[in-house]
């Protein structure tokens, strides 16, 4: 009961924190309020799993080791990154967030629990975000050509991927929760993340990262359904919706429509983007 109240307080902090981000004068405080909510949520969960006495010593060790590795990587990269390289770092953090959300659903599948639409959506959205955000970061960092990359047969490949994701996802959720089927769906989604971002030019990447950020929020909300945790549902939906609005604002600020960005092939002087590169 007390845990649930702390979760509610944490969710409130997230909403207030985002609200304070609306104005430059209060933005930094907003981020701190949101961070306080995060700390409260994590501590409450630690108390919860310690009290239930379910977690084994190995579980604690794995959890602490994993968190330590991730926290150090995040802290060091966030503190040392150059100002101009911050967008790609945010994209990298977004990628691992989406990956973590997808792993929650994978874990649920491994436990052999029944198929559900939320499991499929969590795997799908999380996997697309994972590879899509990694590629977006790579484009901004210059590891991958920033220009729109269009290759022959991309459209046919996307069609096949869409069919696998749609039919496989439907089969897993509604007919029979076969682990092999969800694996195929997850792999198709990983490839789709790449083919979605590849044809988009580097100049449009900030908008794409914001869109993928909204995707991760939605994947986290789905993960909340999968493990029946309201705080995840609230925080995820909050990021999904505000991220979608922010994506539109960013596209508007660049005088670009989201649809034309996603179709791709724009910018950096390529005369005919339909030519294979």
């Amino acid at each position: 009961m007390i845990i649930q109240l702390v979760y509610l307080a944490a969710a409130t902090c997230f909403v207030l924190g985002l609200h304070l981000m609306n104005s430059p004068a209060t933005a930094r405080r907003g981020n701190l309020v949101s961070a306080a909510g995060m700390v409260a949520g994590v501590l409450a969960t630690a108390v919860l799993i310690a009290e239930q006495n379910l977690i084994k010593p190995t579980g604690w060790a794995v959890l602490l080791a994993g968190s330590a590795v991730g926290a150090v990587l995040g802290l060091v990269s966030a503190r040392t990154v150059r100002m101009t390289a911050m967008p790609q770092l945010v994209s990298l953090f977004n990628a691992v967030g989406g990956g973590a959300a997808a792993l929650v659903a994978v874990d649920e599948v491994l436990r052999g629990s029944g198929g559900a639409v939320t499991v499929v959506l969590d795997v799908l959205i999380g996997a697309v975000t994972f590879t899509g955000s990694l590629l977006a970061a790579g484009k901004l960092q210059g590891l991958v050509p920033g220009r729109p990359v269009v290759f022959a047969g991309a459209r046919a490949l996307n069609l096949v991927l869409a069919l696998v994701m749609l039919l496989g996802g439907g089969y897993f959720a509604l007919v029979r929760p076969d682990p092999l089927v969800i694996t195929a769906v997850g792999l198709a989604a990983l490839v789709f993340g790449v083919t979605m971002v590849l044809p988009i030019g580097g100049a449009d990447m900030p908008v794409v990262i914001s869109l993928l950020n909204a995707f991760t929020g939605t994947a986290v909300a789905m993960a909340g359904f999968v493990i029946a945790n309201d705080m995840l549902v609230i925080a995820g939906a909050l990021v999904g919706a505000s991220g979608a609005i922010l994506t539109k604002l960013m596209a508007d600020a660049m005088n670009r429509s989201l649809a034309s960005i996603l179709v791709g092939g724009f910018g950096t002087g390529d005369g005919d983007p339909s030519v294979a590169v």
Partner: protein, 89 residues
């Protein structure tokens, strides 16, 4: 059903909460929202709490490393952006 209601209401709050943000705050706001979805770290903790196979532990390790990187890095980099923002004025 209750979960679905919570989901839809949270979506509505999300749509409303950042309606009038100035363009200079777009990137910090994106980064702030990015940190918030790091709440998936709670999911990683719950996976670890009930893991009892090798594969389960591997997943818990990966999920907690990913999520911790998202949370810690996200908040620190957002704070750096906003500090810079204040210094510039």
């Amino acid at each position: 059903m209750a979960g679905l209601s919570v989901f839809v209401l949270s979506l509505l709050v999300g749509f409303e909460v950042i309606s009038k943000v100035p363009a200079t705050l777009h990137t910090p706001l994106m980064s702030a929202a990015n940190s918030i979805h790091g709440i998936i770290v709670v999911g990683a903790m719950l996976i670890a709490a009930s893991a009892d196979t090798v594969l389960g532990y591997v997943l818990a390790f990966l999920a907690s490393a990913f999520a911790a990187m998202n949370v810690v890095g996200g908040y620190v980099v957002t704070d750096r952006m906003l500090r810079m923002f204040r210094g510039r004025r």
